[in-house]
Amino acid sequence: MDHEQGWPKVTATGIKQLSIKTTTLGMVSGMGNGTKTAVLRGVRLVKTYGDGDSRRVVLHECTLELYPGQVVLLMGPSGSGKSTLLAILSGLLEPDEGQVLVDDEGQLRDLWQMAPAERDRYRRRHTGFVFQGYNLLPALTARQQLEIVLHWCGDYRDSRRRVDELLERLGLQQLQGKKPAQLSGGEKQRIAIARALVKNPAFVFADEPTSALDWENGQRVMELLRLAAHERQAAVLVVSHDQRLLPYVDVHYHLEDGYLEERGLPA
């Protein structure tokens, strides 16, 4: 099988050599032993839109990995397929070809070979999302935005304390009683990030999380996403076309004309 033949070398900051010994993608980073295992690997992903004359290949055999504790930035011009790739990797959109390999309780599985209910369950457990629009429910306070996710995912245990701890760690506790109408754009996006993190997910997928914000707020958002990766060991994928985010990330991919390539980072 393809994935048993090993992982490509990743030259990301702080990661020298990847463990490629097992067929499983270890969910937990090998902190202290110097090796890390990818938690998600998109393999030769192909996606086309349209038929006949209007047929357009948006993704040509794109391959990339996400690792715990890393922020990966996916850049590219508008319309290059960044959101499409994010949707495929996160289990929202089915690819035409290729695999999205994930570690599901110690087993290596293709997300798109799972039954829909299984895939939903997987997403429920492991993935958080942040989008350009904050999409907070107008009726709920900041704290309730987080609680509703836990409660409606059937996770009531300790929900109060967990929400408290997260808000405090992200420095958002003073916003907890406010409704979206009382929050600035930057504050809303930070609450949206807190919502994405409340399940303590293995992945955070952020599509243009800073595009609607000024640079100052954009920086704060990136700080939180870094915190999610570096402190909570999430694998974070940020999609953006903003060059200024580069200093905040660990890995940088560029997508253009359907081709994905890894690029270097500013020193």
Partner: protein, 376 residues
């Protein structure tokens, strides 16, 4: 539950349309049923203006004017039951009334004992009228029927019932009739007038008083169970309501309100469904991200149905005082709206059911929510 209420409250302006639609339907239904039931009190007047607590009649008699003869000796079935008075006989039957001026009308003869304690004697009677009625062939009618029975013109000719001359010894106020004028008389007179229509040793009803309403219910339950084959027993309240309900549902009036109530429900449902639908669509992106985060879709469906439920409950809560206000208003026009708890409870059940159904229709909006929409 909590989230549903929070969202309702936050967007109360939007949901107000749904709530008002429910209120409208509920008021429409309760008031129509109440109004007609009030009007149909006419059908239970003989029960309402006597002081009996228990009515015993032929099996499954649906309304006071439809009782068939029962043997007198059923009296013994009540003998010895504690807390129950000695039962008395009561006759109720249609008869043919010949006006003094000629021409006939259908009338309904009510015959009862007349002594002051008699359970079947009309409570509308004056002591003098009771006395006068002891005379054979003496009758009393309602003043509203005087004209109809041709009693206002020629006094030289006597009216006849089933061919026998009768004497009108007075009129009362309140013994209003719908189809056949009520004619009240003594038990003896009634038997004479009905002649072969009532087999000997038979009566139409047996009436009794009870020491308490609670006891009356117990006795009735016992009698119904014990003698289910050849007679039935009601408390006066049940029989009164049963008579009204029977005529309400048997006549076109019942059909008319059924239809109006149905229309009201449909209108209420469409508006409620539309309100819920548009509210959900307005929050589609917020819900979509919850789906992306793994919240099962049924949670959203449950949210919508729960909101529908609360819209129903709030709508009913508002409808209640409105109904009472309108009832009071109707009273100013001498119109009685009967808003007994059964009507209010039935209305509440119907309208909340309607709201829930509206919620189910609005679920289409939940089906349309797509996490992928967030990426565009």
């Amino acid at each position: 539950m909590l989230y549903a209420l929070l969202m309702l409250w936050h967007e109360r302006a939007r949901y107000a349309a749904g709530v008002l639609a429910v209120t409208f339907s509920a008021v429409l239904i309760a008031l129509q049923v109440g109004l007609l039931l009030g009007l149909f009190k006419i059908t239970s007047i003989p029960i309402d203006y006597t002081s009996a607590d228990i009515w015993i009649g032929s099996t499954a008699v649906p309304s006071v004017d439809l009782g068939k003869p029962i043997p007198k000796n059923f009296v013994s079935r009540l003998a010895g039951l504690p807390g129950v008075s000695m039962p008395e006989m009561y006759i109720a039957n249609f008869a043919n009334f010949t006006k003094p001026t000629g021409g006939t009308e259908l009338c309904f003869v009510l015959g009862s004992l007349l002594d002051p304690e008699a359970a079947g004697a009309l409570t509308l009677l004056t002591p003098e009228q009771r006395d006068a009625l002891t005379m054979p062939y003496a009758i009393i009618v309602d003043e509203s029927d005087v004209k109809r029975l041709g009693l206002d013109t020629d006094r030289s000719q006597k009216p006849k019932i089933n061919g026998k001359e009768v004497t009108v010894v007075g009129t009362v106020r309140g013994l209003k009739s719908l189809a056949a004028p009520w004619v009240f008389c003594s038990l003896y007179t009634a038997r004479q007038l009905l002649g072969p229509l009532l087999p000997p040793d038979h009566v139409t009803y047996l009436l009794a008083r009870c020491e308490s309403p609670q006891r009356a219910r117990e006795v009735v339950a016992y009698l119904r169970e014990r003698y289910a084959d050849d007679m039935t027993a009601y408390t006066a309240e049940e029989f009164s309501f049963g008579s009204r309900w029977y005529w309400l549902t048997r006549t076109k009036a019942g059909l008319a309100i059924g239809y109006a109530a149905f229309l009201g429900l449909i209108v209420g449902m469409v508006i409620t469904a539309q309100t819920l639908y548009s509210a959900t669509v307005a929050n589609a992106r917020e819900f979509a991200i919850l789906l992306a985060l793994g919240v099962p879709r049924w949670r959203l469906a449950l949210l919508v149905v729960t909101q529908a439920f609360w819209i129903g409950v709030i709508g009913i809560a508002l409808a209640y005082p409105v109904c009472l206000g309108l009832k009071y208003l109707a009273l100013q026009f001498a119109t009685d709206v009967d808003l007994r708890w059964q009507i209010l409870a039935g209305t509440a059940t119907l309208t909340i059911g309607m709201a829930l159904l509206a919620g189910l229709f609005a679920l289409r909006s939940v089906q349309q929510i797509e996490p992928m929409s967030l990426l565009r």
